[in-house]
Assembly symmetry: C2
Homo-oligomer: 397 residues x 2
């Protein structure tokens, strides 16, 4: 029931309005004055100014140099998200380890990305190595930077609440509790939030900085790694499904008679469009760069051409099915698929036009994500900072 007068209401009202103010400043591509915050939120100038002062006092907003924003009137003090708050984003992938510190303005404050081969690796030494990277990064940070939490992107299905990586077929890991293994390397009491790599990488498309909308808000994201991860994003939010395991587009079956997949099924999309599958079909070594494949295709190499055609067909078939089911007709390709998007697009588009039931009314589109090594680590930090934006009152006490 909604009641007009309730005792405990005032503090939650303040928390809601603080969040609204912080969200408004974070969402704006340009600095905002207190008056602009009032205008955007529907608050009085006095209320907005009071809440802004509290957020500035807590370091969640920063005042930047005073300028005359309008021709007439008093000079306004532009507000931006606070540079003192940051989060640590970590990532384990079959081909890399990454650690990245992102601040509330979305700037990368520090990072370290290390290539490696972690297919069939052992979780304990791998996570110890990642913990070492993280510890080095944290040790070098300015003292006034407040790292509020750690996110970890993993290429598999994750029980977020329990903090367990249930299964990552390409790593060969199952039932791993990464927080326990990372803990010795992180500040004591630091919390680690896990997430699926593609879900977190998709955040970097949906948001250019914590709480700031990116170019796409409704899209299917495919993360081209050694395998293929995926995420479906609607209204800027990654769809999680009933247990948080949604988005595994790499394991949509393209051909039931196709090659066996590490997951136990056959003919999964990643058996055609994953990096290893593509490179080996093209006769290239598994550590070759996507650009090398593109060069061979351009040079008319038949094996490379066939590998690319096969991948494009598999992407078209799988994505058409996903679009028919989800009605999200924008595809954003990340990782090596993003790098190869120009070459893949014509054939994928063809399949989508023909196989998506609603294509005649809203033609599906295919875009490439910004090439962003270890986007999962960035997304993991965005995830943690998203909690700060959603509930700044918690940080002010």
């Amino acid at each position: 029931m909604i009641r007009e007068q309730t005792g405990a209401r005032q503090s939650s009202l303040r928390a809601t309005n603080l969040a609204l103010v912080l969200r408004t400043v974070c969402a704006s591509p340009d600095p905002l004055s207190r008056a602009a915050v009032a205008g955007a939120t529907g608050m009085t100038r006095a209320t907005a100014a009071r809440l802004v002062d509290d957020l500035v006092g807590g370091g969640l907003l920063d005042e930047v140099e005073r300028v005359v924003l309008a021709r007439r009137g008093r000079p306004a003090t532009p507000l931006v998200p606070g540079a003192r708050f940051a989060a640590l984003g970590l990532q384990v992938d079959a081909g890399l380890l990454a650690a990245r510190v992102l601040d509330l303005r979305g700037r990368v404050v520090a990072e370290q990305v290390t290539d490696g081969d972690f297919v069939g690796s052992a979780p304990v030494p791998t996570l110890a190595r990642l913990g070492g990277l993280a510890a080095d990064l944290l040790a070098g940070l300015p003292r006034n930077l407040r790292v509020v939490g750690t996110g970890l992107a993993l290429p598999g299905i994750v029980d977020v609440d329990a903090g367990v990586l249930l299964r990552a077929p390409n790593l060969g890991w199952s039932d791993v509790r990464p927080a326990d293994l990372l803990a010795p390397h992180l500040p004591s009491g630091a919390s680690v939030v896990l997430g699926n790599e593609a879900d977190l990488a998709a955040r970097t498309v949906a948001e250019t900085a914590p709480g700031r909308p990116g170019a796409h808000r409704d899209f299917l994201y495919l993360s081209g790694q050694i395998g293929v991860g995926g995420a479906a994003v609607l209204a800027g939010r990654v769809m999680s499904g009933s247990s948080g395991w949604a988005g595994e587009m790499g394991h949509v079956c393209v051909d039931p008679d196709g090659p066996p997949c590490r997951c136990g099924s056959t003919g999964c999309l990643e058996q055609y469009a994953g990096r290893h599958a593509l490179l080996s079909a093209a006769g290239l070594p598994l550590d070759a760069a996507p650009g090398e494949l593109a060069a061979r295709v351009a040079a008319g190499d038949p094996a490379a051409g066939r590998a690319l055609d096969t991948a494009a067909r598999a992407l078209g078939v799988a994505l058409a099915g996903v679009i028919n089911v989800l009605d999200i007709p924008t595809v954003v390709l990340g990782g090596h698929l993003g790098e190869l998007a120009g070459l893949l697009r014509p054939a994928v588009q063809d399949h989508l036009d023909r196989r998506v039931l609603s294509a005649g009314w809203r033609r599906p589109t295919i875009a490439a994500a910004d090439t962003h090594p270890a986007a999962g680590a960035t997304g993991a930090a965005l995830r943690v900072l998203g909690d700060v934006v959603a509930d700044p009152a918690r940080r002010l006490s």
Copy 2:
């Protein structure tokens, strides 16, 4: 911004609380007393009683015979949803026309279902015939029944806001405005809300009566018709996607080299598991009942067995992909697929166990919907009545 005092707030407060009371009574499988309503909503008894009185006065709640609900205490007057409010649900399918009047208690007050062959039919005479059915049904209703609106279930993609059926491959219809064609047969000014057949049929699984939760709240629904429709339901709500066209699982590609589909693609699920596809693969006439196919399978008929195996494999492959993407591991089969669920289940389950990435943690399950001819018509009426439950204040003025 949330404010404590706002002028126009009181009436929206009342509307919210009226909706909460009506929703509480509708959701309950048993009649509720005013005291029980107060308990369930957190209102004072006086407030609850006042709101209940308003709803009873407007016919949205009915008082049933006074009984002693508890051993001690005063006799309470049980409340149930009002029998005076009803909605008309209509359905056009490739194999039938249906009209059904459902009241706020979820009872079928009147209905008419006519089999026919509407594949490649002309929209104008077909909708005129449906309008005739509807007019007959409405003419025979008790005078005190208030039919608040009409819903129409269609087997294709629908622009709900514009009231346009964009495309129904199996009917062969495109760009049809059914409300214009039905209008001459309905009371003047009656509104007609369109919806996708499978989306609306899925509502009959999610709700046993308007606002009353059914056995499943998170599930994938497959509607076995001449084709195969689908809907994904999460927390009792049908997922609509960005334009309301989500759920087209019948057009998930099972084999890109498979037979051509009416939609323009190839190897769509409905080319293996649709009623026509199944029956013709089994060598049965297209108007044979699913039971006939089942009987042939039981008798060891090889063509029937093969047809069923092929359908089960296609269902397994397509549904595994959908579960990997959506993480909704409960499948409810409706229409002929529901009737054949017992025979289909073992092979479908096998594919799901093997092909769903998270099957080891949450094994997918397969259930059959209650056999319900023209479930889409029922769902269409539920859809209209859902609006009444959501905003009863509108009906009280």
